[in-house]
Symmetry: C3
Subunit: 143 residues, 3 copies
């Protein structure tokens, strides 16, 4: 029987507020390297209902282009029932976060994460103020 | 070698029709509790091409706001080639479901699902009539 | 202890260019069949920042309807900061790919992938020219 393990770690980070995107690729790679696991999956999950995770080419242009797309889809300048009830002004943040999603699963093979060259892992802050964020990094793999 | 297991269960539910959203968080937590597994991942998958799964703060406002976003992105009042061919009137449902996606992977650690406080797991019905839905809940973990 | 394994394979394919969608369901089923694993998950990940993966009813109408939705959300005829910097004309491709996402996780049970009848796995080419694409298919499961 091959050696098997599950490793659970958290990445904690502070966002600068709405539309901030934070590249966590090197953090994830470091946790994978330290685990010594050779083949398996990394599951990433951002806790909270106003942030998301995806992959993107992390360069200054797209850091503006992606939020502009979200503004077209769920503008902050329209009415949200969420805000009518709770008056916290982040109805659009919730809608955007549910659309992009909180979860990402990336395989690794021969200890290498299966990312493309221009493909980074990013946490997208969609809330209207700076937030502390906790991202679960869980690795299931074999040695 | 640590004890390891994979458990496969189905959640069966009936939607009330288009834009219904059903909170399955407590069902998932119950299946996880019963499994007695301590660390691992829960993979959720909704079978069918006109429903999706995501996380959201499950409150009455957002239950309206999220479908309104989908209506802006893939309105039911525009032309779909799908409907031109099949005449079943749910072209927009398919487009929306493929956008939001059928799959969600959530880690658990110390027997706790890694969800934020205001973050629930929801099945989103996008078809134009009430449907019976089957959601696979599969847990991979260690004791 | 039940027999456990992790299997990593690649699907390599060539897209015909922007908005091409390629059904990889039979490739994934063949890899799963060959693995002889009974219960577990298939993780699919498309390497690169201008392609995505999702499920859809793979029929000619929706193959046009889904890209039309992407054109409404991230039109190729508007300005992108990405293009202002890099002049490669695929800013919209990146935005669309990050929205739909690169990753999909599908459970299997009794050797059967948990897909609905009209639910196929597709790779969506969003770049503006034909591309060679590499999709990681990783299976974690028990015999």
């Amino acid at each position: 029987m091959i050696g098997f393990n599950i490793i659970s770690k958290y990445i904690e980070l502070s966002s600068k507020g709405e539309n901030d995107s934070i590249d966590i690729t090197s953090d994830v790679k470091r946790i994978l390297f330290t685990s010594k696991l050779k083949d398996g999956i990394v599951t990433l999950f951002v806790m909270g209902s106003t942030a998301s995770i995806t992959t993107i080419e992390y360069e200054p242009g797209l850091k503006k282009d992606f939020p502009r797309m979200l503004e077209r889809v769920a503008s902050k300048d329209i009415e949200y029932e969420h805000d009518n009830t709770w008056h916290d002004g982040n109805g659009h943040s919730h809608v955007r976060a549910s659309l992009v999603g909180p979860s990402l699963t990336i395989p690794f093979h021969g200890s290498d994460l299966c990312l493309g060259t221009w493909q980074q892992i990013v946490i997208l802050e969609m809330d209207i103020r700076p937030r502390n964020r906790k991202v679960m990094v869980q690795i299931i793999g074999i040695y």
